[in-house]
């Protein structure tokens, strides 16, 4: 009796071990490639961590010195302002155009599925490819955009070389990159709104804008908040687009916190201060991540 019981218990324990092995590789990976970097960045933020550290192994603790250096650096507040403008501008553009396209593609028509799928292309291209392409399009002297403007009698705009318009140009490109993501999620949300709601509303005379305002928007709210919050989190960390187009210039006009974090660490090799910038970026993302998780939970509950 006891032997039967203990052998069954042993078998159960063996199965538990095997079951645990399913998740162990993923757990180790996430610890090493997500957990460790976050912890390491927090620590580095309090250390004098430079190229010298790699030779001597010494990274003295400096308290909040890196954060003081980061925040009091001349580029901090301009970068912060650019980050906000870049994020808000990108989001509004992506969302409005994405919503328009999603509503348009809700009508089923010949080729609609194929065209909608092709619309994903800007999202799937390597960002550095998009940056290079837009750099050719936006080139001041021979880019196609300025040639087109010239053809209708407008002056050439120094899109990427003038500090006054560079941020706008970078935002426009990032809008283009983000549209497919917005269309996909919003279209998915639209599909979940029952057709009967629109039929009932049309009997009451609500069609077109009225139907959009009173049926589409309220029913799409959970999806919209998910799209917007994910959009913020993804836009805050954008590097490729800006590095490829302007490298943070001209005259630092397109510096953001993410660019500061990269350049401080990997151009100036001030890893401690760079980590401080990164941690400020994490903090910004975290605030929006929490909003996302709350709205996501609400969306699931509903």
């Amino acid at each position: 009796m006891t032997t039967v019981l203990s052998s069954r218990r042993r078998r159960l324990r063996r199965e538990d071990v095997i079951k645990a092995l399913f998740v162990v590789p993923a757990a180790i990976y996430i610890l090493l490639f997500f957990g460790y970097p976050v912890v390491k960045n927090i620590l580095m933020g309090f250390q004098d961590y430079t190229t010298k550290t790699f030779f001597t192994g010494e990274a003295p603790w400096v308290g909040l010195q890196n954060y003081v250096t980061a925040v009091t650096s001349g580029l901090f507040w301009p970068a912060m302002a650019n980050t906000l403008l870049f994020t808000i501008g990108s989001l509004i553009g992506q969302f409005v155009i994405g919503m328009g396209l999603a509503v348009f593609f809700r009508r089923q028509f010949p080729l609609s599925g194929f065209l909608r799928a092709m619309l994903l292309l800007p999202w799937l291209l390597p960002l550095i490819v998009s940056s290079a392409t837009w750099r050719a399009i936006l080139d001041k002297d021979s880019g196609i955009l300025n040639q087109a403007l010239g053809a209708i009698g407008l002056d050439a705009v120094p899109w990427l070389t003038s500090p006054d318009v560079a941020l706008i140009a970078v935002i426009l490109v990032n809008i283009w990159v983000g549209i497919p993501f917005n269309v996909t999620l919003l279209y998915g949300g639209l599909q979940d709104i029952p057709e009967e709601l629109y039929e009932a509303a049309s009997l009451d005379g609500a069609t077109g804008w009225k139907a959009f305002w009173h049926i589409t928007l309220p029913n799409l709210r959970p999806v919209m908040s998910v799209v917007l919050v994910l959009g913020v989190v993804y836009t805050l960390k954008v590097l490729d687009v800006i590095l490829g187009l302007t490298g943070g210039g001209p005259a630092n006009a397109t510096q953001t916190i993410a660019i500061r974090a990269y350049q401080t660490s990997f151009v100036d090799f001030e890893f401690g201060v760079g980590a401080a910038f990164s941690n400020i970026l994490i903090l910004l993302s975290l605030v929006f991540a929490l909003i996302y998780l709350r709205s996501n939970r609400k969306a699931v509950d509903e």
């Binding site: 095997i18 399913f22 993923a26 996430i30 976050v38 089923q108 080729l111 092709m118 996909t184 660490s265």
Partner: protein, 286 residues
């Protein structure tokens, strides 16, 4: 009676005709919208077919295509394209080997901490890449993994592992318990049930996750930029970036490289559309 029937018939036909005119008009508008959205992609191809030079004076249509840009691109970036290919395939393997069993466990085993695990995965997806690069640079430097294929493969897998776990789990939640229960009755352990029942059924989800793992690694720029320091090992994204420099001297070569780097996305979107569409929807909100 007959006249009434005919009128009903006629008006129905007229409505049908109106509807089909409208939907044909929608198709035209849809094509126009897509053409505007994809104009930059066309322009990339067009510019790549111009004769070499540092100006961009391209006509709207490349009537006399020159392949000099491609020759230059392959000469300069051929090795980098190969590096990208190796790293991307390696990342797909690492991603699926790690993500598939985890997704199965999170979908089928009853652990109390599953919601915590999902929360961690969601948050992991949001961590800015520069944070990871910052820490990995120091760690890779100590471990000798800078400028190594293995180092890039492991780092690039971070772009796709959280995503793949979420997509695969969503699919494996749909596996009917009775199928797995039947396997259990037949004496199959969890490994057999996973390997010979769950995985074959989840084939499509695996393809979706694998394709995205490939595209994410192929597109990676940040780890290429930070975790390689020499020209010996250089993914093509970094090759394009170094082409861009401050002054572009040969636009057709840059755009030819851009076209070559876009091929995986374009080809997969054309031949594996349903898998891509499934992943685009599944990854973002779950």
């Amino acid at each position: 009676m007959t006249t009434a029937l005919i009128t009903v018939d006629q008006s129905a036909a007229r409505r049908q005709r109106a509807r089909s005119t409208r939907s044909r008009l929608s198709t035209v508008v849809g094509i126009a919208l897509l053409a505007i959205m994809l104009f930059p992609v066309y322009w990339m191809v067009n510019t790549s077919l111009q004769p070499s030079g540092n100006t961009l004076n391209a006509g709207l249509i490349p009537w006399n295509p020159s392949f000099a840009g491609y020759e230059q691109a392959l000469a300069d970036q051929g090795g980098n394209l190969l590096t990208s290919l190796i790293v991307s395939i390696g990342s797909v393997v690492v991603c699926l080997v790690i993500a598939a069993p985890a997704a199965y466990a999170l979908a089928q085993f009853r652990y109390r901490w599953i919601s915590v695990a999902l929360l961690v995965i969601l948050i992991a997806q949001m961590i800015p890449g520069i944070v990871i690069a910052n820490a990995l640079y120091a760690a890779y430097n100590d471990l000798g993994l800078l400028n190594s294929v293995v180092g890039l493969i492991l780092a690039d897998a971070s772009h796709s592992i959280p995503f793949a776990i979420l997509v695969l789990r969503a699919f494996m939640m749909g596996l009917h318990p009775s199928i797995l229960e039947a396997a259990r009755v037949d004496g199959a352990g969890p490994v057999r049930a996973f390997w010979s029942i769950a995985l074959p059924i989840a084939k499509n989800a695996l393809i979706t996750a694998g394709l995205f793992a490939f595209l994410f690694a192929w597109s990676d720029f940040l780890f290429a930029l930070t975790l390689t320091t020499t020209e010996d090992l250089r993914p093509v994204t970094l090759g394009i970036y170094s082409y861009l420099g401050t002054q572009v001297s040969n636009w057709s070569a840059v755009m030819a490289t851009a076209v070559l780097s876009s091929l995986p996305a374009i080809v997969l979107l054309l031949v594996a559309q349903r898998y891509i569409a499934a992943g685009a929807m599944g990854g973002a909100v779950k």
